[in-house]
């Protein structure tokens, strides 16, 4: 979708989404509902803020000794019978997975949700090599059947309406035409995917946390698909981004208390599975992936983005994400955290994402590991400008603003002119292609006098 795009044009991509007003509104409300559930959970724990602070400290520490912890993790995982593989980038990750599947003669894989494999475009790669991959998380499966990508990292099908799922299942599974009852549709999926679980020859999962001290990996789901997908076949491949490391098993007490509460407003996911080594008679292969993470580690400005535990809370709360949809970001991880992780890796391609932000800082307020998201987004805008990735129009505007802001008298005169114009000029002169802000909304009514005038008046 975005592989060939040189620059991801967020405003352009959001246009279609925003065009359907009732749908955009529905999307906005659906995510706000999740945000409200998150608040309720956060408020039910008196130690919530201390938990966030602790989680942040643990992550800061882990990253400061990441190489040691990775080596320790490999040692301990190996001791318990797992095999650890190292992949520098997406291509190497995909090659390792393919080789493992081929060595085991696997033709059909049950995959559970893993944003890392999305990031690496593993599915299309395996399919090109004749391996059938079925996403078993219901949301991801719906998205896969529609030949789309997830629009949210926790709620992959949040942009899809039940009528559309009904039509899709009618066509692909033979469910009743016009059926829209989520219960009925989920039951049909259960039946179909049970066949997949029983016939798959390998299971691929992501990893939520990897414990250096014990060499264990933890996978969290509500559906139980990661467990079902790995409990039946002999081969389990777990794909692990290297920022998922934590030092001790006891640290899970902190992170599992934060993760589901922040993500969906649940006290914990239905299943939080701890894998230490393979099942008896089976094999566990863990593919550790860098893919640009170690470079972000080198940046004082963006290092903290590696704290992310992928809960999606910043998306649920973001006014821009809620009103523009995940696909408008043109990346596997959308929303505020995606607007950092993607440009931090490829500034030119994702130059527009840091501007898909009103700097309201709501993301920073809800982040369970205290990433200073809005500050990083602002810093990125500076980097985008310095690297010369701003459009000509924006560059001109920024230069003009800088010129005006340095001249108080000019600023004051222009303010007066602006207030006068908004009051007296006809609509067609104010709203036009030169005023993108006014495309779908009116400018606020101008104040009678400037702040400075008002201040002087009250002082007198």
């Amino acid at each position: 979708m975005s592989a060939t795009e040189i620059t991801v044009d967020h405003p352009q991509r959001a246009k279609a989404f925003v065009h359907n007003d009732s749908r955009a509104h529905w999307h906005d409300q659906a995510l706000w509902f999740v945000r409200v559930k998150r608040d309720r959970m956060a408020q039910s724990l008196p130690e919530w803020e201390q938990l966030r602070a602790k989680a942040s400290q643990i992550k800061t520490h882990t990253i400061s000794r990441l190489a040691d912890y990775l080596e320790q993790f490999e040692r301990e995982a190996t001791k318990r019978g797992a095999v650890v593989h190292w992949a520098a980038d997406a291509a190497e990750h995909n090659e390792i997975v393919l080789r493992l599947l081929r060595e085991h003669g696997v033709k059909k894989v049950a995959k559970s949700k893993s944003m890392l494999t999305e990031e690496c475009h593993l599915n299309p790669f395996l399919e090109r090599h004749g391996i059938e991959v079925i996403d078993t998380d219901l949301g991801e499966w719906i998205v896969q059947l529609r030949h789309e990508t997830p629009s949210h990292i926790v709620l992959p099908a949040i942009h899809i309406k039940k009528e559309e799922v009904g039509a899709l299942f009618h066509e692909r599974l033979g469910t009743d035409a016009g059926a829209t009852d989520p219960k009925y549709l989920a039951e049909a999926a259960r039946q179909k995917l049970r066949e997949v679980f029983l016939s798959a020859e390998a299971g691929i999962t992501g990893v939520n946390f990897a414990v250096a001290e014990t060499g264990g990996i933890v996978v969290c789901t509500n559906e139980g698909n990661a467990d079902l997908g790995t409990a039946l076949p002999k081969l389990h491949i777990a794909c692990l981004g290297l920022e998922k490391l934590i030092p001790r098993a006891a640290d899970l007490g902190v992170f599992l208390r934060l993760l589901a509460r922040s993500a969906t407003g649940q006290p914990i996911t239905s299943y939080s599975s701890h894998f230490h080594g393979p099942a008896p008679g089976g094999e566990l292969h863990i593919v550790l992936v860098d893919n640009g993470r170690s470079n972000i580690l080198g940046s004082d400005d963006y290092r903290r983005s590696l704290h992310c535990i992928r809960c999606g809370a910043c998306m649920n709360t973001c006014p821009v994400y809620r009103r523009s949809g995940g696909h408008s970001y043109g990346a596997t991880v959308p929303g505020p955290i995606g607007s950092i992780l993607n440009p931090a890796r490829d500034l030119q391609k994702y130059a527009k994402l840091p501007s898909a932000c009103s700097l309201c800082a709501s993301c920073t307020d809800v982040c369970p590991v205290k990433i200073n998201l809005h500050e990083q987004l602002l810093t990125l805008r500076r980097d985008v400008a310095r690297a010369g990735h701003l459009s000509r129009g924006k560059r001109f505007m920024m230069r003009s603003a800088s010129f005006v802001f340095r001249r108080p008298r000019l600023y004051s005169a222009l303010g007066k002119f602006g207030r006068w114009s908004l009051r007296w000029l006809p609509r067609f002169m104010i709203y036009g292609p030169w005023n993108p802000w006014g495309k779908q909304r009116d400018l606020p009514p101008p104040p009678r006098r400037s702040f400075r005038d008002e201040f002087r008046r009250r002082q007198a």
Binding site: P46, K54, H61, K162, R248, P267, S273, L297
Partner: protein, 196 residues
């Protein structure tokens, strides 16, 4: 140079100032009646909790999921209610017809309605997910307050598999409507046994 070495070198080159590993000395929530709290939270995530003072077998027999079950796996010691023996089954795929699994839980966590189970003396971990309904049996004395206490009890010195189960399998992937019974058990009942 191997990929591993290249990644580690790149990380070491970029490492920031080291910080201390923080102590896990958090104050954590506790409850006057952990069983009541556990029961309430479990109900809120779609499960149900029953206190059983005396006759465990009788309590299980009165459950609706027992009445309708034909293939039953029971791994709880001293509870002869199963008709399918896990240790006699070679291939976990053969567990697909199990209607009900009755399994022991190590302990339960009041703050989030979760029960810890593992594959210790359970030959096929798939049983927790293939069964249409799941009953977990936990001793009243093993209901703890919060997750920090849980990890103080857990050790991962050897290979093995264990998990927290909080409620039945569920999904909200279609328009955020909660549907119970996604891929795994359609119901979860936790029986808390023993007196105070």
């Amino acid at each position: 140079m191997s990929t591993k070495q290249a990644i580690l070198d790149r990380i070491r080159k970029h490492l920031p100032q080291a910080t201390e590993l923080p102590a896990l000395d958090l104050p954590a929530i506790t409850f006057p009646d952990p069983v009541a709290q556990f029961s309430e939270v479990l109900a809120s995530v779609g499960g149900s909790c029953l206190s059983v003072a005396e006759d465990l077998a009788q309590a299980v027999r009165t459950l609706p999921c027992f009445a309708s079950a034909r293939q039953i796996v029971c791994q709880v010691e001293g509870l002869p209610l199963g008709n399918k023996n896990l240790s006699e089954i070679a291939d976990p795929h053969d567990l697909n017809d199990v209607d009900l699994a009755i399994m022991p839980g190590d302990f339960a966590v009041a703050e989030n309605g979760a029960v810890w189970v593992s594959d210790r003396s359970v030959r096929h971990r798939a049983i927790y997910f293939l069964a249409q309904h799941l009953v977990l049996v936990v001793a009243r004395a093993h209901v703890i307050d919060n997750l920090h206490q849980a990890y103080a009890r857990l050790e991962f010195a050897e290979r093995g598999y264990g998990l927290f189960i909080s409620g039945p399998s569920k999904t909200a992937d279609i328009e955020q409507s909660l549907v119970i019974g996604a891929h795994g058990p359609r119901s979860l009942t936790v029986l808390v046994v023993g007196g105070l």
